[in-house]
């Protein structure tokens, strides 16, 4: 049986009020060890207040080849941005 430890992706909340952000990955036999290793590797200098780990094989990602059909449709919908609408200065802050 292959005994290489599985790969985990590590997400850290840098400060209270921020979301968790992907910071890197590591190998660990299980979730508990992954959290411990993430603490030692990725928060040695006060980088975080909370850690998430998830086994890399559980992540579903978009395919780079589908970038066009996935993301281009939003490019033409500029009316979704507030700056699309001209509001006269006389109206005041909006």
């Amino acid at each position: 049986m292959k005994n290489e430890w599985p790969l985990w992706e590590v997400f850290i909340r840098g400060q209270h009020g921020m979301s968790h952000r992907h910071v890197g990955s590591l190998h660990a036999p299980d979730a508990e060890m992954a959290v411990k290793n993430a603490r030692d590797v990725y928060t040695r200098r006060n980088e975080g207040v909370s850690i998430w780990v998830v086994e890399a094989r559980h992540i579903t990602a978009t395919n780079p080849g589908d970038k066009g059909p996935m993301f281009e449709p939003s490019e033409s919908k500029i009316y979704r941005h507030p700056t699309f609408f001209d509001i006269p200065d006389d109206v005041g802050a909006m």
Binding site: E4, W5, L7, G24, S25, L26, P29, V41, R44, R45
Partner: protein, 330 residues
Amino acid sequence: MYAQMIKTAGTGVKPREEMTPEEAAFQDKIDADIKIEPKDWMPDDYRATLIRQIGQHAHSEIVGQLPEGNWITRAPTLERKAILLAKVQDEAGHGLYLYCAAETLGVSRDELTEDLLSGRMKYSSIFNYPTLNWADIGAVGWLVDGAAIMNQVPLQRTSYGPYSRAMIRICKEESFHQRQGYDIMMKMAQGTEAQKKMAQDALNRFWYPSLMMFGPSDKESVHSAQSMAWKIKIDSNDELRQRFVDQTVPQAEYLGLSIPDDKLKWNEERGHYDFSEPDWTEFFNVLKGKGPCNTERMNDRKRAWEEGAWVRDGLMAHARKRAARKVAAE
């Protein structure tokens, strides 16, 4: 430089007319400074060269722990010991970031480790020199980490996303390493006559091996040209070496130590220091395994890998058992 003499795969830079549409689109992205990410299309040679380069860099971080680990139990004060422990721990972390970056290219960490242990992959020549006294720990931080920073700072802009991100993280931590080394050197250089002698002796022994870290001149190399076109090498070896000498000479002067080179002289016209080349025969011998500590380093790595096998296997067996129990309970 932690990656030396990396053989670039392929036959050099292809003229644009000879590129396939995929290759041309790939080169356009690199020229426009758009990062290449793991699932993006990339030429096989780009992938192979990066695995070699990042792998060698990772191995260097790990083997680099050994010469410094040598002094953890003999550090002169508790504070110095804690600092050195933290630094060696950082090196393990740097190795991990880099192995993870290499793994995104489709090679596993165990495969990389096995390639190191079988001698198929190398680590930087610098770690085959011994650390004989406490001043050597200062010289390693100041010179070896200093030379590594020279190489790693430009690599933060490398074209491969995961490698670039690993470099950014490493550079943040690396400057602590260099400063702690210089701090040791200052203490010794301002100390007793005996301490000053130790500091000078450490500089004498580490100067040329540090210059060798950048590798021999590669300005004529077609392989280098390809790596530069791919932006996995940013500056030539000679440029980096010159930058290192220019930066280090005034630091040595401040310490009141002398660089062991009679030819070292400021060249007003060039705006750089002239200096002697290291002995490249020695360099190639060290790469071939004939350095003072090659055998010791490899034996240490092999022993750690073999003697740790039961722990790795045991923890994996435990994890599998617990996972099975959890499934059974559900």
